[in-house]
Subunit: 497 residues, 2 copies
Amino acid sequence: MKELKKFLTLQVAGAFFLAVLLVPATTGKASAESEQWSVPVAPGGPFDRVYYPQNAPVGPDTHFGPRSWTQMNLGPKHNAAVDISEKSPEWFHRGVFWRYAEARAWPLSRKIAFGAKTYGEVEAGAVQTQFYGNALGVSEVDGVVYAESDDMFAYALNARTGQLIWRTSPVGNHLMGNPLVKGHFVYLASGGVGFNFANVVRFSKKGRAVRGMDVSYNGIYALDRTDGHLIWHRGSVGEAMPTPAIDGNVLYFATGSGSVHALDRRTGRPLWTTHLKGNDNMSSPAIDHGQLFLAMATPPRLYSLSAKTGKLLWSRTIKGAANTGMGDVSPAVGNGIVIMDTVTNPAMIHGKPTLDPVVEAFDAKTGKSLWVRSLGRGPKPPAFKGGVPMIHENTVYVGSPVNGAYEALDLATGKLLWRWSRIKAARGAPTFYKNRLFISGEDILYMLDPRTGKETGSVKIGGRMGIVSPTIVGGTAYLANTWDWIVAVPVGKFVNP
Amino acid sequence: MKELKKFLTLQVAGAFFLAVLLVPATTGKASAESEQWSVPVAPGGPFDRVYYPQNAPVGPDTHFGPRSWTQMNLGPKHNAAVDISEKSPEWFHRGVFWRYAEARAWPLSRKIAFGAKTYGEVEAGAVQTQFYGNALGVSEVDGVVYAESDDMFAYALNARTGQLIWRTSPVGNHLMGNPLVKGHFVYLASGGVGFNFANVVRFSKKGRAVRGMDVSYNGIYALDRTDGHLIWHRGSVGEAMPTPAIDGNVLYFATGSGSVHALDRRTGRPLWTTHLKGNDNMSSPAIDHGQLFLAMATPPRLYSLSAKTGKLLWSRTIKGAANTGMGDVSPAVGNGIVIMDTVTNPAMIHGKPTLDPVVEAFDAKTGKSLWVRSLGRGPKPPAFKGGVPMIHENTVYVGSPVNGAYEALDLATGKLLWRWSRIKAARGAPTFYKNRLFISGEDILYMLDPRTGKETGSVKIGGRMGIVSPTIVGGTAYLANTWDWIVAVPVGKFVNP
């Protein structure tokens, strides 16, 4: 009965956070020896780390971009743009072009997702994003582009040349977020969308389930930034699909079991854990002025926690929020206002399922509702059901997953400034840089006049972009896509005319 | 509304089989050009095929083992043993020793599964099997060992030396079965255990769900046997975790949507599809005298179909069968009798969940029940809930997943001949070769006297073996395990004393 006892203990502990630290890491550095084979990766095999120091940036190129990348889309406002000084090398301003085919790359010339004949074209796009490609965009720090892919690898590329510096797959699970970079660390978060059968049954009985439990390995993998070697890792029972957030020496992450964790980012040591209800699907925590903001699905709810203690400060829902909507969306925070959106009020119209995406603004301190706005009802989309909001100065930019429109709204009042309708599904946060708003839509990078919403130009990228925000550093836009490519395109002539 | 329409069309078609044949394959051979990039795998990247012709067997070694491998565990009786002629080279008789670390290999010296601190030791073993390791054993044909792994790669190794001939990952999903080998083809079946959220909701509303739908890519991948290049592939909506079966030029496979398919194995062209209820988890079809035998879970039921037409001949359940039990078990067929087992009658005993595994024999022609036997109630195991039965001459050998006992039963009457209790969970089919019964249990290969059930010897393999049947060819036992290793151990001295 020993086996039974263990199994029961697990069942009871199932929804909670249990951790492992196989690599001694009290100093934050593992010896070369202890790193070897601390996770199931055959040395020299296809998942093993490769490292090409000759491809790392040199000289002034090591000063290209920010010194760290500590939240999804760079910060709580979700504006993944980094300015450069006037005196920078010429390529910083002009921009560069390159393409890098990741492990499950599909030719950029292909118009239709792999598997379209099995799943249908739209659903196949979502499947390829979730299992083969890049769900979000990339991070860029000190001349290096860092990317996570659902192909199960993380990549570090030279931002100027696109050459591979390192590639590694310390965990056989999907990597859906932005790699975070701080000090000599890069942090990956692993998790996938699936449920095991025990949780399917649990949902039917109790209306709740842990996403990702017993479906491969979830949690945080901390790597050395220079060569990608594994320093520490920490497991979680639920998936860790959202991008974590870093403040100082603390890393925060949320999971498919509704848990939120604070770790010492140097060692992986747990500082606090808070158990909320539901699943965090893709709602990456934003941190601002000592408060964490994130949302869960099933039940749908926005939470603010104290970053220091994990204590719940307030929580709110959006009226009529549909099951998975809120847990997909990463709240944006700026000027003391939290912007959240979700699909709401499922309804059959002419026999077809529809949803109404709604944006709501809350006071960051109190959670008080400031304004609510519907983006307009439309057909139910597959997979990710939200638009990631972005705040720049006094404006919110947000897209609708059901009709593809992007809207610019006044941050304080929610008043519509303009609306741009060009693509079918709008999910990724736009990026504001200098005099342009960048939006990745389907296979194209669009540029808009941020004051009017008028399209001023576009660059064909190829493939398909899901929730991808363009990362703009000086004159280059860095993108990643469902076809499992990382692409750099020069946009200097548009922003530095 | 175009997107909505497509989505709805898909929803309606969801449970059905939709196919894709991206590579022109009417001749059964693809040109080198059309093979390139027909699936999302970056040329030269870590998932790309590697081929080392210098490692292929030469001379008489190409005659080691059978000429084809057309069902799980070699045939409908599930006895994965191949005799060799007296005049064979000496190593055929004596046996060889080698070890091959697959892509997600974990040191064989490790006693405890990776992730044990997150999931608990027992559950972590099941997770490592399902996501990183080998679920079943290997196939062996003409001096080459073929293996599928849940690390997403398939491998061809020289049976004498263990050297890699080719390795490929044409699909980013788990490969859980025996590769089938016939003519110049090797066939892989892809699928994983997970459910997407839409099917979680569907199960709660309708009590049924498609396993594997929208969770990566499922179906059959046909490779060239010599170098592993992809010839054709065919998608299915539900997972294809069970091993297919081949008879002549027809390949049969069953899926997580309850569908059973017959394809022309040379081209992938569909011949017939039959829709049954439930999910096939790991119940690999057995084919015998023109009849297919396989089982589904949710609802639990054993089916016999006409191999020629797909027409349902008969179906039966086992009284009290628990949800996932029957769909996990591959029926064994021999002497006109079908042997099936399943866990039954879940009950809490002293507050702990228990199950009663039951074996039942049916007349292959009529489905009439011949006998029923309980293997004895015990604690509910994680994941795979059955023992794969094996028939040799007039005896059935079958293990119990709840208490680890193996029993030898009279095929005609179900009368107990002996019972061997040594390990905790018995799942894999034993292998009968010459005067020995081989059983892989946990980290050890056991040898029993098949007449008495007395243990006569054992060989330490390391790691953990799940549903692994030893593949015995002459004097060598070939095994694969949860730690993602393929191992050859010499057993000639035991069987050729």
